[in-house]
Symmetry: C2
Subunit: 220 residues, 2 copies
DNA sequence: ATATTTTTTTAGGTGCGACTAAATTATATT
DNA sequence: AATATAATTTAGTCGCACCTAAAAAAATAT
């Protein structure tokens, strides 16, 4: 029975995300992700290594083990199920749920999670377009990319977001750039990487920062 | 903004319950309630007194302040709403929800609580018959007593329970003594305070311990 | 290849919430 | 009222998860 503290779960989650985004899992990166200091990370890595949740050698970085992976996925599963619940059942807005789910993801009860999943109808995607791992950690493959990666003159449908902060999501809401919307990217400006797109026959400008954080699936 | 730790919330809750049941709020009693040691309680009482959640003077015991009272009620509200949710929506059994609600009650988000309450239809009672405080801390008055307090030859309807442990609730389930059931108490045995009652035309015996933990409303 | 910068680790400390053992105060008994 | 018992508090520790400052190793630049 591996019962982890909230901190330990958060470390595993952070390491998982860095690993998946191929960002290189350094002490510094983890610290930035968790809003903590590198020295604290080093200590925790030793503890997690003792528990066989990752392999760690001084100065050599970190590799999660299968067990660590599985536990991280379990936390992510809970986070995304709760987000789905909060939006679909409790009618919270997509920019209101992240902080709450950060708390709910640490509730320990397998029974609870499985019943919640069933109650929600085994959803595949959370309100931000992220795939929800099933009971066995499997999740649907994602075939999407950032707006900053698609070519001018292509059509795309908004699939999800990379940034989950309330500020960003509210901004998207204001621009009417929500999940499911389709648009045509008409131009990318070389000097600042901002893009022009047409949505509902209206032309709009979005900054590089915004473009990098919107995930789309290409159409046709 | 008074943001309490989980420990602090648990102390307030324990003190509230002792206070309400008129059990005398001693360091010892609180420790027993929280499965901790009296010395630890003393320290925490000082901290809670500093935060004006109770008044405390050495060796003189404790009195919760209005603020402490309100915060305790808030935690209890959340506990009971979550229990209701777990049973009514997720279909957990009444003996499976207490532990989980002990965790969920510490989730911090006013918005979440109010939406949950609305989603559940503003329930007045939780699955164990305990009243759920509303937004303002008001809850319906309870007019019930223990089976150990009613007289032979009276009819009663089961209203709730005092003991929330899984063991006790499973026991009741087995005896078919669940909320809403009505019975006639036919006799109380002097030597062990056990009682005989008739439910669905069947006579059954229940121990003093069980009788003390079943709440009933008297009929006719 | 050496020097500089960045990253990572160690050493030593802090606050929280628990603990044990010992001292103190309150309560009950005779 | 004196004494025994029970409740409470103090004093001193501990583990966890964080911190800062300084040392060590790795990466980068010259």
């Amino acid at each position: 029975m591996s019962n982890l503290s909230i901190s330990e779960e958060n470390y595993l989650k952070a390491i998982f995300h860095l690993y998946k985004h191929g960002e290189g899992i350094g002490t510094n990166a983890i610290a930035r992700h968790l809003d903590t200091k590198p020295a604290s990370v080093t200590e925790m890595l030793k503890k997690l290594a003792d528990k066989k949740l990752l392999t760690y050698e001084k100065y050599q970085g970190v590799v999660p083990t299968r067990k660590g992976f599985t536990l991280a996925l379990g936390v992510i599963r809970k986070h995304r199920l709760w987000e789905y619940f909060l939006v679909e059942k409790l009618k919270l807005k997509w920019d209101e749920v992240h902080e709450i789910a950060e708390q709910l993801e640490h509730i320990q009860s397998d029974l609870l999670v499985e019943q919640l999943d069933a109650y929600l109808g085994f959803p595949k995607l959370d309100p931000h377009g992220d795939p929800i791992p099933d009971k066995d950690g499997k999740m649907c493959a994602m075939n999407c990319c950032c707006v900053s990666e698609i070519k001018p003159n292509s059509n795309a449908r908004i699939f999800g977001v990379k940034n989950h902060t309330s500020a960003f999501l509210k901004h998207l809401e204001k621009l009417n750039l929500t999940i499911g919307k389709t648009f045509t990217l008409v131009n990318r400006n070389d000097f600042d990487q901002s893009v022009e797109l047409v949505l509902n026959k209206q032309t709009m400008h979005i900054s590089k920062e915004v473009a990098e954080n919107i995930l789309v699936e290409k159409l046709k």
